[in-house]
Amino acid sequence: MKRSRDALFKNMWYIFVTKMPVADEIQSSWADEVEIDQGALPPPSEVVENGLKIVTEYKYDNDNKKVKIVRTYKIEKRVVSKSIAKRKTWSKFGDSAEDKPGPNPATTNVSEDVFMQFISSKEEAQRPDDSDLDGLKPPTSSVIFKCRTCQGEHWTSSCPFKHTQLAQTKANEAAKAAEAKAASSTNKYVAPNMREGASRGPGREPPGARRGDDVAAIRISNLSNFAVEADLDDLVKGFGPVHKLYLAKEKSTGLCKGFAYVHFKFKADAAKAIQTLNGHGYDHLILNVEWSKPPQNN
């Protein structure tokens, strides 16, 4: 009984060659080529040491240059069920009859790492099939021009409200708003310094801060460099509904530039925010909060 169990254990230990990095091709140095006579290749060698089998081969490549191929195999022992262990002792047959133990590089290779890409089917549904080309097509539906008076999809000169009171009052501010809007929303080229969010230099304010006189906008300055929109949102949402948040950021680093504009829905909320937040300590700095000034004419 004991003997047969020993035999079983012996069966269960066998060699599996599992890891097989891609063959390293090392060009032999010129010194080697001088030493070894042309035509005589060094004999292939096989070294097995501390769990690694290193096979070295020499051959001529297509340019008739000598190439040294080193393959490293990791030898692993695994305990498996008896039937599998027994099958592992089978000798090779058919076209593999001549193969040595271990994988034959002619039939078995290790390819590049491939990882599973996790996707959600919603993403998949939204992704157009040939998205690369779609971006190049001109937009067909969106209208490029707009009436300055009523924002309709017709030229200003053919506006139905041309001679009405509306036109008179709206003309000035609408023109400005439309201009700002056009700069940010149409497909036209816009110089980098004109784009929304870009710094406009001293004396100017970012386009996010532009508004009519009745807008309840406040300017918060002396913010920490590390402030993000979420912090700002936390700071002001207690005062009332916020229409818009603008946090000035350094374009290259994405860090806060130290000031922000907040548009409240109601002027009263804005006033309350100024009253409370001005001089409020926030992230080791003392905030300076004031009414946002109208853009300077330049």
């Binding site: 599992t18 039937s83 089978w90 047959f93 058919g94 078995t108 599973m116 890409q117 089917s121 040939d130």
Partner: protein, 329 residues
């Protein structure tokens, strides 16, 4: 994990299968020599030389003693797995499209194509003793398929039925005592390329050219789930340990060169069994995947493609850590 690339075939892979314990991986291709590999390290154990043409199908019995293959040379062959010897050859009238051992391996079934003036036929043979006598012995049961030909076949529960998938998309369950139809359904609109049983045999998944894979109950042929893609599905497999399904396919081999859509669509796609939603993809093949198989331990899978390669891909930990997002309400 780096996949193993098995380059034993010169032409497109037609079918790959693991044995029951998963230590051996079999591959058949449109060249004449089926191969067998050790799945762990990709070492080739041998080739089965003897067929004179395409090998369409293969199957191994549960004890890993015999292999059955069927091919375009109008023969169905039985092989000894240990030595690779061709024990028996059954001559048929037309090429053999599908062949499978029953679970007990007491019987095997194979189907022939409708070709060369011969009809599509289903044969059940006795495989309790496999030797030369099988070549001359008549089959236990055979019947003709009059409408569209059989393109895939599996054994049902308890070796009492077989289920055939047809070129027109029909699924038919046959009673082997009488050779009569028990159930016949048509859930697919085009050819059924592949059918694979779940681990316990209660469900099976079909892969069809109509760009879907569907999950059916094995005994009632009730449609349970549907997995939709935008390309013909050549093969589908069910994970033995997780609620996952892997689909493989791609454009038809002959259409690949004439269509100019972006490269790809040859990846293996993983769907959730229950939610029917795709959650992952694995790239690798340069052509459509023709056959897929999960390792019985569920920790790796193999795919055989039109490019002639078999790729054995072990799953990373990320695959096992992945949980499918859903609303628990």
């Amino acid at each position: 994990m780096k996949p193993l690339m098995l380059q034993g075939h010169e032409r497109a892979i037609t079918q790959i299968k693991y044995n029951r314990e998963g230590d051996l991986l079999f591959s058949a291709a449109k060249d004449s020599k089926p191969n067998v590999w050790w799945s762990l390290n990709g070492e080739r154990l041998g080739t089965f030389n003897g067929h004179g043409g395409v090998v369409w199908c293969l199957d191994v019995d549960w004890q890993s003693i015999h292999l059955i293959t069927g091919g375009g040379d109008s023969s169905c062959r039985l092989w000894d797995l240990e030595t690779g010897k061709n024990i028996a050859t059954i001559k048929t009238n037309s090429s053999v499209r599908t062949c499978n051992f029953s679970y007990s391996a007491y019987q095997a079934a194979y189907t022939t194509d409708k070709a060369m003036g011969h009809p599509c036929e289903v044969f059940i043979i006795d495989t309790r003793t496999i030797d030369d006598s099988i070549s001359s012995a008549s089959s236990i049961l055979k019947w003709e398929i009059t409408d569209s030909k059989v393109t895939s076949m599996i054994w049902g529960t308890l070796d009492e039925t077989i289920i055939t998938g047809h070129e027109a998309g029909d699924l038919i369950q046959w009673d082997l005592r009488t050779g009569k139809k028990i159930h016949s359904i048509k859930e697919h609109s085009r050819q059924i390329n592949d059918m694979q049983l779940s681990r316990d045999g209660t469900m099976f998944i079909t892969a069809s050219k109509d760009q879907t894979a569907k999950l059916f109950d094995t005994s009632s042929l009730e449609l349970l789930k549907e997995y939709k893609t935008e390309r013909p599905v050549n093969s589908a497999a069910l994970s033995p340990i997780l609620d996952h399904v892997v689909l493989g396919g791609g454009q038809d081999a002959m259409e690949v060169t004439t269509t100019s859509t972006r490269q790809g669509k040859f990846d293996a796609r993983f769907f959730h069994l229950v939610f029917e939603e795709e959650f992952g993809r694995v790239k690798g093949h340069f052509g459509p995947i023709n056959s897929l198989a999960f390792h019985p331990d569920g920790r790796s899978y193999a795919s055989g493609g039109e490019d002639g390669y078999v790729r054995v891909q072990s799953f990373d930990q990320a695959y096992f850590d992945y949980t499918f997002d859903y609303n628990r309400d």
